[in-house]
Symmetry: C2
Subunit: 221 residues, 2 copies
């Protein structure tokens, strides 16, 4: 697969089939992940795959509770606004995201594979998320969908650490868990604010010098 | 370029030529970046390109001071250990990283392009570093080397914000700056601890089930 196809079409895929991800595909995902750079090449990372039904059965209720808390806190304002103006494009988009994320929570135990990533001495996230994103891009190349979520660590860190046996005293933090599975839907380019609305040159608000009205891939590569 | 070639060979490239990055290449880098997912698709990001010699001349001294501080703090222990045991493979590797990073600092003003990335409401970094890493992978596909650095924000945030005109009161944080340039050296696969040493299954320390002794790319794809 061309690198641009992977970069343009790896969107969050939360509706997936329960069939397992073969070992050789998992290996490609993990081996791509560890090629990413990390600050000072310290590789202060651990990747914990979860595919055991018993472990997922313990994490699932925590995950659904974390989801409920997320809606009630960080998303409360956006959800209320969407309910007040259901016809707005922003509301339609938000409802789609909420339904998709809730679907993943409701079907947590049927997700075939999770990858929980741990890091230490990385306050920015810059030494772990390149590896995570590489894992998701490699998965895309293998036809496997993925979605990154941080809510287990945000709302139920100690219970999650206990279930997964993560040592509490060695400085490890959980950066995220990523769900993996063969998607039921189609790959596509997600809607985004165009480059010239979010990019500046030489100073905040400085004119970039050009506009990009349509995605440059696939037409331009 | 195949996605695996990009994932396996995009290592930090800090020795680059001063020739500018053409607009059409910059556009590909930025347009790939904004396709990345972000939590709730909020796209709480801004990308500030710096290629003006006057701006680089103001940032350069700050960057070199930040570099000096990094060596004296987070790296002090590793540098002392490397000086004590210069023949160790870890020492050789560290010396190479330090020299390369110092080379970038010493030649800051000759780097043709920096991309400083800003984010808000993203404590983990999980909503900005996928976009950053996509930018670096797209650059790789165009033959442009890159290196991610966080030290300007760590050590000289307020001065950097002032130089770049970043508003201090709207919640923006600087995730990183990435240097871009056509490399003087060769692309290659960086040395990493293999997957089976950093990946577990179903519990911390749990056997992954297989070992990967050699990089799976290029032979296996």
């Amino acid at each position: 697969m061309d690198v641009y196809e992977a970069l343009y079409t790896t969107r969050a895929m939360r509706r997936v089939r329960p069939e397992p991800i073969p070992d050789e595909v998992q290996a490609k995902i993990l081996d791509a992940a560890i090629r990413a750079p990390s600050g000072g090449n310290t590789q202060n990372w651990r990747f914990l795959l979860v595919d055991d039904a018993a472990v997922k059965a313990r994490l699932g209720p925590l995950y659904r509770d974390a989801m409920r808390r997320l809606w009630a806190t960080a998303y409360a304002e956006r959800i209320a606004a969407a309910q007040a103006s259901p016809g707005d494009p922003a509301s339609v988009s938000l409802v789609r995201i909420v339904k998709s994320a809730q679907h993943l929570a409701d079907h947590f135990e049927q997700i075939p594979l999770f990858l929980c990533a741990f890091t230490r001495n990385d306050s920015s996230g810059g030494s772990i998320f390149p590896a995570i994103w590489s894992a998701q891009l490699a998965a895309r190349a293998e036809g496997v969908g993925s979605a990154l979520t941080t809510i287990l660590g945000t709302f139920h860190k100690s219970a999650t650490f206990e279930i997964l046996g993560v040592p509490a005293d060695r400085g490890w933090d959980m950066a995220c868990c990523v769900s993996f599975g063969y998607p039921t839907g189609k790959w596509g380019i997600a809607a985004r604010h165009p480059v010239h609305e979010v990019a500046y040159r030489n100073s905040w608000g400085g004119d970039l010098g050009y506009e990009i009205s349509e995605p440059l891939w696939p037409s331009a590569t």
